[in-house]
Symmetry: C2
Subunit: 434 residues, 2 copies
């Protein structure tokens, strides 16, 4: 058996402690599989005295995180601190510049600085691995970059944020409104005290941009992701979707558009109405799932726990095992220099069916105004339902499902209605999947 692979661990929150617990529990098995022992030599966290339920005495302690990258007894730095910049980024740069391998669960850092870090890693023949950054314990980066390596990827999409999926599933099963479910989710630990990154879709967008770069061989471009969250979804939308045979899921979607003669990329995070017949409709609670549409393998689906200390630690250690086995190459499958820039695609000519929900004032002619706008923009209405009774107070909702048509039509219809005193708030628009 080869010499042990020596690990420094930065960050001892739930995931960091999970990695130590995993290596303690499965260490012998992992050493057999990796062909060498995985040995944690040094650790660093904010508070040395905090009780984490694990014995830290076998490991050297560093107060200064970047010192981990300078230690002679470290082959791999595992960064579990989080944050796109700051100490995490400094540590990552130091580690890779010093020729050490880096494993991270930090989706924000990879989404913002993945191209730079990949170049540094490749230049030094070091590994940069981040399976845990996308979809928790699901080995989807491996599935995409290695398992599906023989394929051109036509499209990828999936449920990439467990918090949103938990909230939407709970709204579905309880009939409660967004705010109430969010509060429960926070109390249960499924949502953070500041849930903005999750519920506004930013976290899912980080993950989507990472997957898209690997899938399409394009430069990672987080800024190009068109992002909508789930905060405007009401219990009435969930009920309406249900009546139509759909559930609502926040999806990240990415595909390549070559219609303009050049390779353009459409990356979006948006709530969808997903047909109950589609496998993603059955993905409940904090589970994640990713679908790859491949030109030879067809549709591949990967599903599992999207977060949590155990699943995330599983992905971190899988990366470490790959490094121990010498199984690593370019972090984004192609060498960083070979990744192509791709301008954002214009979705205007994309065909879809649409769900459009309006909150309307109780006044004569509102429906006529909305339907006229649809007609004038060429949007063909498949069904229209009005919810709520004005005499009972509260909002009156009008939900429209369109026949298949281009997105540009829906945009034009909404432009016609923009500023209309008939509408009490901005309309909510969601595409239908399946």
């Amino acid at each position: 058996m080869s010499a042990p692979l020596r690990i420094a661990l930065a960050g001892l929150g739930t995931v960091g402690a999970g990695v130590i617990r995993l290596l303690e529990t499965n260490g012998e098995l992992i050493a057999q599989r990796a062909g060498r022992e995985i040995q944690v030599t040094a650790v660093c966290a904010r508070d040395r005295s905090k009780d984490r339920g694990i014995d830290l005495s076998p490991y050297a302690w560093e107060d200064d995180m970047t010192a981990l990258a300078a230690r002679d007894d470290v082959d791999v730095v595992v960064e579990l601190v989080g944050g796109s910049d700051g100490p995490a980024l400094a540590l990552a740069r130091n580690a890779l510049n010093g020729g050490k391998h880096l494993v991270t669960a930090n989706k924000a850092m990879i989404a913002h600085h993945g191209m730079e870090l990949a170049s540094v890693a490749e230049a030094g023949n070091a590994a940069l691995k981040f399976e845990a950054a996308v979809a928790g314990g699901i080995p989807v980066i491996k599935g995409l970059g290695e398992g599906a390596a023989a394929n051109a990827i036509d499209r990828l999409y999936g449920i990439l944020n467990g918090t949103c999926n938990y909230i939407l599933s709970q709204m579905e099963s309880t009939g409660a409104d967004f705010g109430d479910v969010l509060k429960d989710a926070q109390e249960l630990g499924y949502a953070e005290a500041d849930p903005t990154f999750d519920i506004e879709g930013v976290d899912a967008a980080h993950k989507l941009a990472i997957l898209a770069s690997i899938a399409f061989g394009t430069k990672l471009d987080f800024g190009a992701v068109d992002i909508s969250g789930i905060t405007k979804i009401r219990a009435a939308d969930i009920a309406q979707a249900d009546a139509l045979g759909y559930v609502i899921r926040l999806l990240g979607t990415a595909d390549v558009d070559t219609g303009s003669g050049e390779k353009r990329l459409l990356q979006r995070v948006q709530p969808y109405l997903v047909s109950k017949e589609h496998p993603l409709a059955a993905v409940d609670g904090p589970t994640n799932a990713v679908v790859l549409e491949c030109n030879f393998a067809g549709r591949l689906l990967f599903e599992g726990a999207g977060a949590g200390d155990g699943p995330t630690a599983s992905a971190v250690v899988a990366d470490i095992v790959d490094i121990a086995r010498g199984n690593f190459g370019a972090p984004f499958s192609l060498p960083a220099g070979a990744l192509q820039p791709a301008a954002p695609a214009d979705p205007g000519n994309r065909l879809s069916r649409f769900y459009m929900r309006f909150v309307v004032a109780d006044r004569l002619g509102v429906l006529a105004e909305i339907t006229a706008a649809m007609r004038d923009a060429g949007v063909s209405i498949e069904s229209m339902i009005q919810h709520g009774h004005p005499e009972e107070g509260g909002d009156v909702l009008v939900a429209i499902v369109s026949h298949e048509g281009p997105e540009s039509g829906v945009s034009a219809a909404l432009d016609l209605l923009d500023g209309s005193p008939s509408l009490s708030e901005a309309p909510l628009v969601m595409r239908l999947l399946g």
Copy 2:
């Protein structure tokens, strides 16, 4: 870029032709990802003149398959001939003994000779890869051996045979009986002229034994798989399952039992009643899906096309890309010498709910006889339904669902009924999942 990786292809049926088409279509992309060109140099098949829709002129032709393994211009032999022994095995042995890498889609050969071939491959530092042998285009061997490498696997189970799943899905959606659906499946190409290996569960058992060896670090032991097929399932069983909230799926299941103090393995291929709430219930048609229950990652699910030229070629070429990148180790994750023998576990004390269906004679006291046997064996009945009216002719079916109890109880009840003139044929027993 490194020198091309040179491939010899044995077998030009649908999968072999698919590999050539894939390499022609995606060759440039694959060369970028692999860091080197994948170059087919020589091919061999039974009939040189057959029109396969592909141009074979760029490749050297060998009439003698084993000559492929002796060529100097070949680094990887791809075996797509099939059959557990005979020419395929001779070619595999020749290739690996000659220090060449071997990629194969041949589940029967790996199930029967995987241990021997792995030892030869490891001794010569050659790759032996067989992603395409299990679950078609789904990268489940990679997901298990690499993606889930940090985990002890508690249990694995899945839909491993597309033909059976297609037949069962069709019986479900059409209400037709087994024989009629099989005939249609044969006409549509979803079932072979001789469908025995598929419908009797042997093909699924080949795949299960391969997965179990990798998951549990045990010597591959195909002979220990307890196999039942789907030939005895009637339309009435499907209807009865549906009424209970279940669908019927042929599952391969494997887990480790340490109750006896030593590591024992339970491997089975059997039809199950799968709750409609379970993700596997939604897996329709020729799709495959595998679930891994991991001690840290939790439940991982991999789903996709279980057969077909495109998906199988995708898995074959993914293996070739791994070899091109130098990403390969022990074929069964642990070195062949480290895999442990594991005796078959006794399922008698396993708890489950059971579906038991009896074809009974039209005579007084039949139900009393069956229920007395259940009582005497300690099997607690949850529900019992009698199908069919004797006066209309045809069989009378009695279906019983038990409360959760040990398998030994059900076996004892069936022993009590064995040989009873009340039963027109052997009872059909299926476990309930979910």
